[in-house]
């Protein structure tokens, strides 16, 4: 037992975030290098050459809202405005769906406020048929790819038009026709799956690449290690993204290892290229994704991108961040707000202004409202307009086995006992 030997007692170290509820916040300890100062290596470089960038931060938009440095993707104003619009659209959508949950129209919702650039700008840098294996906080990719908002709301409401037939928790979208893989509640499982998809694409001589997203917290899962190992062993054409938003529900990123190193730096140990980018800088996210996509597409191998950002709101509608972190963190976040930064850049270019921005926000709010109304015609959660009863038993297997046939009959029998006049309204 303890103290037997003449040695100092060992100490058990448990990480603790800098600020708790009520604490004043300053992020002086977060090193923010100047925009434009990061070198842009050749896309075909050896993985080890990206090592300095794993401890740096790729940034394009400077304090004067100008795009500077070698990572400036030099996008035209129309593309920038479109990107801004999708990011604002994502936020408008989140705000409305959050309220919908509070009004009891659905059981659950998760916003991506503050992280819109990580998904939207990534999507802009990918081809439309590059396969995405998302986590639950990349709704911006669906919106960037033009997935109908009404379809998203149908899924959130689990109504009779929900293409997932009411089987899935809200926001666990699946959209094969938009190259958006079915979202799982089990964290990080999509990471090795994305690698597998990329291997399949390579083995078939296809030109499509895969990309996947996990959070800082779920990068601690074993699946992360599996994915990184398989990706490098087979030189997979894949982009693996860690959205480091500092928080995994109530656990700060220190519990995933962030106190001692960066997430991007893990790439180097696997022999993979790594990039650490300002996740609130849409141009930096775009440039990094484009770099990694070009690398993958030319058979130069996989890339790990850490998007350094901040989860500006609660983890989900079931979470109250006021219980574990200072409410001042979001406003003090030194990398600001991704939508505002892109807006200011466009304004600085003389391609945008406050009036147009406000008009756009009003228009987007109307668009979301109209989509919500349209979706509500198909029902909201718990109001009866769900998929036919027997569909619960379908798609477990390609064909219904005998036990599911029996159980389906039982379920329908129970329904008739409870509501004798009940009829399955369609088969």
């Amino acid at each position: 037992m303890a103290g037997k030997r003449n040695l100092p007692p060992l100490e058990f170290y448990v990480p603790e975030p800098k600020f708790r509820p009520g604490d004043p916040v300053d992020f002086v300890h977060v090193n923010i290098p100047p925009a434009g100062a990061q070198p842009r290596p050749d896309e075909g470089c050896a993985a080890i050459e990206t090592s300095p960038l794993c401890y740096d931060l790729v940034r394009v938009l400077d304090e004067e809202h100008q795009a500077v440095g070698p990572w400036n993707p030099r996008l035209d104003a129309d593309t920038l405005r479109e990107m801004l619009r999708v990011m604002a659209r994502t936020r408008a959508f989140d705000d409305r769906m959050y309220r919908g949950q509070r009004q009891g129209k659905t059981s659950f919702y998760m916003k991506c406020t503050g992280e819109e650039a990580t998904s939207v700008a990534s999507a802009f840098a990918l081809a439309a048929d590059d396969m995405v294996f998302p986590s639950y906080r990349q709704q911006g990719i669906l919106l960037a790819r033009g997935y109908p908002m009404v379809e998203m709301i149908n899924q959130i409401y689990s109504n009779r038009a929900d293409r997932l037939k009411g089987r899935q928790l809200p926001i666990m979208y699946s959209a094969r026709d938009y190259s958006f893989f079915t979202i799982s509640g089990n964290l990080a499982t999509q990471f090795p799956q994305a690698v597998g998809w990329a291997l399949a694409s390579a083995s078939k001589g296809d030109s499509r690449i895969a990309t996947s997203f996990i959070g800082d917290g779920s990068s601690a899962e074993g699946d992360f290690h599996a994915a990184m190992t398989f990706a490098t062993v087979y030189n997979a054409p894949v982009i693996l993204n860690i959205v480091n938003n500092q928080w995994a529900i109530s656990s700060f990123s220190g519990f995933a290892g962030a106190e001692r190193t960066t997430f991007a730096a893990r790439a180097i140990g696997y022999g993979m290229a790594g990039l650490r980018v300002d996740g609130n800088d849409a141009l930096a996210v775009y440039a990094a994704t484009q770099w990694a996509a070009n690398r993958a597409r030319s058979n130069q191998g996989p890339t790990l991108i850490e998007h350094f950002t901040y989860r500006a709101e609660g983890h989900s509608t079931s979470d109250d961040p006021g219980q574990y972190r200072s409410a001042r963190e979001a406003e003090a976040w030194p990398l600001g707000d991704p939508i505002n930064r892109l807006k200011q850049h466009l304004c600085a270019l003389g391609e945008w202004d406050d009036e147009r921005h406000e008009a756009m926000d009003r228009e987007l709010a109307e668009e979301v409202k109209a989509a919500t109304k349209e979706a509500e015609k198909n029902g909201i959660l718990g109001h009866g307009l769900h998929h036919p009863f027997h569909t619960m038993f379908e798609d477990v297997y390609e064909e219904l086995p005998w036990n599911l046939e029996e159980q389906s009959e039982q379920a329908i029998r129970e329904r008739r006992i409870k509501w004798p006049s009940w009829k399955e309204y369609e088969k």
Binding site: M131, F133, R163, L164, K165, R167, Q168, M172, S174, A175, R176, F181, T182, S184, G185, N186, T189, F191, P192, Q193, A194, V195, G196, W197, A198, L199, A200, S201, S203, K204, A210, G222, D223, H225, A226, A227, T229, F230, V233, D395, V396, Y397, E398, P401, W402, N403
Partner: protein, 335 residues
């Protein structure tokens, strides 16, 4: 053919028939597998289609799910069923649920081959029979052959099936049927009629049991190695048992089970896996619910003990002739 050769033949045939079939796993490529099941396949079909993997079962199954999502038909190997657990989340949460949760947008037509079962002095981590951990999972199919003939036909059917299949291969009977008499010499497969394997393509439907022997005195429900052990004990004791090799555990061939127990009125369930919450419990419940008025004796479950699989005391653990014989006596003695 022995069972290894039959499995190799099935893989060879499916690789040739379907360019989307790929084989992956630890040591399956150049070396041809630690049990030789994939011997020669990489040389014949190339590294694009038969390849070695890192030692990471989560990665093997996870990558296979992603490959299936692309449109391939992966046949991953897990070297021993005892090592399937790191891939369990990918099998249970992902492969099994993919079709359901995406309403059919994405499917996982993968066949996970894995040697399983004991009787080979494999100790704790080379002997387990974890089938109940998979029969409990909605969305998975579980198949266990007991002869070379079935191994080939069932494996071909599993690879062609559009649902994820766990294909457990009883490694005790890879080279010859085993009757449980470990102190007697083991015969090779070529002395057994079910080692006659047709050339070329044929398949055996999943979900269909095989009547090994018709009989009147009792029904024996078994699979894998235990089919041979139970049959040998019944023969030695001169019991006119009806022996059913289930072949597919999920979905189970309920008609075959019901028909037989209704005829015999007695039922013995035999498996190597541990007893509590083992697949025998499900079988016993099904028989009790569906054949209650035909039963003339309590259902017997002959299984491994509820301990980890021991090394030196293997034959004390293994549900061999003595344990089966006692159960037969109880079944036939009951009035």
């Amino acid at each position: 053919m022995n069972m290894i050769e039959a499995i190799n033949d099935a893989l060879d045939i499916m690789m040739a028939r379907d360019p989307d079939v790929v084989i992956m796993g630890e040591d399956v490529g150049y070396f041809g597998g630690v049990f030789r099941a994939t011997a020669g396949l990489q040389k014949k079909f190339g590294k694009n289609r038969v390849f070695d993997t890192p030692i990471n079962e989560c990665g093997i199954i996870g990558a296979a799910v992603g490959m299936a999502a692309y449109g391939l038909r992966p046949v991953p190997e897990i070297q021993f069923a005892d090592y399937i657990y790191p891939g369990y989340d990918q099998l249970v949460s992902e492969a099994a649920r993919l079709r359901y949760r995406s309403a059919g947008e994405f499917i996982a037509p993968i066949t996970v081959r894995s040697p399983f079962g004991g009787g080979i002095f494999g100790g704790q981590t080379h002997s387990q029979s974890p089938e109940a951990l998979f029969t409990h999972v909605a969305g998975l199919k579980v198949v266990i052959p007991s002869t070379p003939h079935d191994a080939k036909g069932l494996l071909i059917a599993a690879i062609e099936d559009n649902d994820p299949v766990i294909f457990f291969e009883p490694k005790r009977i890879y080279n010859g049927p085993f009757d449980g008499y470990y102190d007697k010499p083991v015969k090779p497969w070529n002395t057994h009629p079910d080692s006659q394997v047709p050339e070329g393509y044929y398949s055996i439907p999943l979900g269909k049991a095989r009547t090994v022997r018709e009989g009147e005195a009792m029904t024996v429900l078994a699979y894998g190695t235990m089919v041979h052990v139970a049959a040998a004990v019944c023969e030695e004791k001169g019991v006119d048992a009806e022996i059913i090799d289930l072949r597919t555990l999920a979905p189970i061939d309920i008609e075959a089970v019901e028909k037989s127990v209704e005829k015999t009125g007695r039922c013995m369930i035999v498996h190597e896996a541990t007893r509590t919450s083992g697949f025998g419990a499900e079988l016993s419940a099904l028989v009790q619910e569906r054949c209650f008025y035909h039963l003339e004796a309590p259902i017997e479950r002959v299984t491994g003990f509820d301990t980890p699989y021991p090394h030196s005391l293997e034959w004390a653990y293994f549900p061999g002739p003595v344990r089966i014989g006692e159960a037969i006596d109880r079944l036939l003695g009951a009035e």
